[in-house]
């Protein structure tokens, strides 16, 4: 009556031998990791430029400039990674940066302490992220639409609050504030230090905490995460708050570096931020990506831009090259995905 064998399945090796095996060796893991290949590409590009333009490219000044330039994008890309891991997207980071910059400028202009300005900036960034997060996680609206709305609203608020003027009179605490974003420690610009610390902290959070694991789980299979007891909505809300906070941090640093706040600050940055995470191996469908990837992706884009400038290529070509690398990165990811499946 039964067509199924009832004896236990025999196997020539003990189960312990198999269950004890490591999934993959270190070499295999590296070769299947997108950030590893992007790092190689970055090194090759730097090597070529150093050989071609030893004086201009490989100078301490240029290194300082490149790292500082990508630090702002990199900081936002780390926060964006948290959102993209859940399968979401945050298109509002550039506008939030502008909105927060204007708030910073206004608080300083009113003569308040630099710490008050930074606190107000972080609060404004977190609030914008929280509005996105509540609408996406609790109301259930699509992330693309909600953050597109915030892109428009935050930019508009920035223009209204600034009365469409540049804010450069930063009051008594302006010098300290400008030194935070514009200064350097040990020959490396402060925003770069901020990016390094942030990438290390979030690398740890993504890999070693339950909160980080939940981001990956939600991006992998949101329904599975829900039925196994992951607080899906709360985690998603928190991811958008993190993205708002990193946009605010980048804004504080960039306003300090420039010594002025304009309401057009960060226009178009959302695309550069998303491009950085994607080049660094984040999957826009969710569940794939990391903090180092965001860092190295931002670095690669800036080195491409810098190299093209140094090589004397018309700067209008930059967009084409960056776009090419985005598509190449996703293509590479697809090829590796097929091999490992």
């Amino acid at each position: 009556m039964s067509t199924v064998p009832t004896r236990p399945l025999q196997s020539s090796v003990a189960i312990d031998d198999i269950t004890g095996l490591k999934e993959r060796s270190l070499g295999q893991r590296l070769s299947s990791s997108q950030p590893f290949w992007v790092t190689i590409a970055l090194i090759i590009m730097c090597a070529i430029m150093t050989w071609d333009q030893p004086d201009a490219f490989a100078s301490a000044d240029n290194f300082y400039n490149i790292t500082r330039n990508f630090a702002f994008i990199g900081i936002m890309a780390v926060g964006m990674t948290a959102v993209i891991l859940t399968g979401g997207i945050d298109l509002s980071v550039g506008s939030v940066m502008g909105f927060v910059g204007v708030i910073c400028g206004l608080v300083l202009q009113a003569g308040h302490h630099w710490a008050t300005a930074i606190a107000a900036a972080l609060l404004a960034g977190a609030a914008a992220g929280a509005v996105n997060g509540v609408l996406i996680a609790y109301v259930g609206l699509p992330a693309f639409v909600v953050t597109l709305g915030m892109l428009s609203v935050a930019r508009s608020l920035a223009i209204v609050l600034s009365e469409n003027r540049m804010i450069y009179d930063f009051g008594p605490w302006g010098d300290t504030f400008n030194a935070i974003g514009g200064g350097a420690v040990l020959g490396i610009a402060n925003p770069v230090w901020a990016l390094i610390v942030l990438a290390l902290v979030f690398g740890f959070i993504f890999n070693c905490t339950a909160w980080g694991k939940y981001l990956y789980a939600i991006g992998g299979n949101e329904n599975a995460a829900r039925v196994t007891g992951v607080p899906v909505r709360r985690i998603k809300l928190e991811a958008y708050i993190v993205s708002g906070l990193t946009a605010a941090l980048a804004s504080v640093l960039i306003v300090g570096w420039q010594g002025s706040a304009i309401n057009a600050l960060g226009q178009g940055y959302e695309l550069r931020v998303i491009a950085s995470t994607v080049i660094g191996g984040a999957d826009l469908m969710g569940g794939q990506g990391g903090a180092y990837g965001a860092f190295i992706g931002a670095a690669l884009i800036e080195v491409i831009r810098n190299s093209l400038l140094m090589a004397g290529v018309d700067s209008n070509w930059q967009g084409a090259f960056v776009g090419l690398f985005i598509v190449l990165a996703v293509l590479l990811q697809r090829i590796r995905g097929k091999r490992s499946a």
């Binding site: 189960i15 004890g20 905490t209 992998g220 299979n221 599975a224 995460a225």
Partner: protein
């Protein structure tokens, strides 16, 4: 005393009566096959036991005590675990991460709580060993066969002291060899004194592992028999309605 007892369980969705008063009892270490055509009320019944739905009428008793399940966690805390039809797995995570999803083991380093990977790999390795499944805790689920994916989903039920495991169509979409693996896993659960309720359309699987088979039709229980006192022909008749009741 029965481990799980359902009495007069009914469920209405508006005007639709999904269940019209079902009595059922499950003894310790018993494997029960729950069969019925689509729309017979099997899934609704399972969801009520699992705490996904609240019954419109009737009582659920665990070892004689009346229980009310408002959400899945309530049922889980009474030792009821569910293996969902789609298995509820995250392909991008390892087997161990999936097993522990939502109840990760953590270790304190100063003020922060860190995932204790070593302990989780260890525990999951032990569970796979117990289940005699060739599944590696560190493998990504997307690289696994259907049988291994089942093992991961079943391993989840072994984390806590589950007393009843509900399995929704575990053998619906896997190969013959993998079906044998899953049936073997069910026997191992039974040997540990765990009751299993197997929802299945596959007659051979039910007759291979179950002690009792319960047939549902149009929201009613129409048969509840020991497998050695019935036949696939009779069960088929009961499912289709060719045989009225037994």
């Amino acid at each position: 005393m029965a481990l799980l007892e359902l009495q007069g369980i009914a469920k209405h969705f508006g005007a639709i009566e999904a269940l019209k008063g079902v009595d059922l009892s499950v003894e310790e270490g018993q494997v029960i096959g729950l069969m019925g055509d689509n729309g017979a009320g099997k899934s609704t019944l399972v969801r009520i036991i699992a705490g996904n739905f609240r019954p419109s009428d009737g009582e659920i008793r665990i070892q004689g005590q009346v229980k009310h399940f408002h959400k899945p966690v309530d049922a889980r805390s009474e030792g009821i675990e569910v293996v969902y039809q789609d298995l509820a797995l995250c392909d991008n995570l390892t087997a161990a991460a999936n097993v522990f999803l939502g109840r990760e083991l953590k270790r304190r380093i100063g003020p922060i709580k860190v995932l204790d990977y070593a302990a989780m790999y260890d525990r999951v390795g032990q569970i796979f060993n117990e289940l005699k499944s060739e599944t590696r805790p560190r493998d990504l689920v997307k690289q696994m066969s259907g049988g291994q994916r089942q093992a991961v989903a079943i391993a989840r039920t072994r984390l806590s002291d589950a007393r009843i495991v509900l399995m929704d169509e575990p053998t619906a979409a896997i190969s013959v060899r993998q079906v044998a693996e899953v049936l073997e896993l069910i026997r191992r659960l039974r040997d540990k004194g765990i009751s299993v309720m197997l929802i299945s359309h596959r007659m051979p699987d039910v007759f291979a592992v179950c002690d009792r088979v319960v047939v549902m039709r149009r929201g009613l229980k129409v048969a509840d028999k020991a497998v050695d006192q019935t036949s696939p022909e009779e069960i088929t008749g009961l499912i289709t309605g060719a045989i009225h009741t037994a």
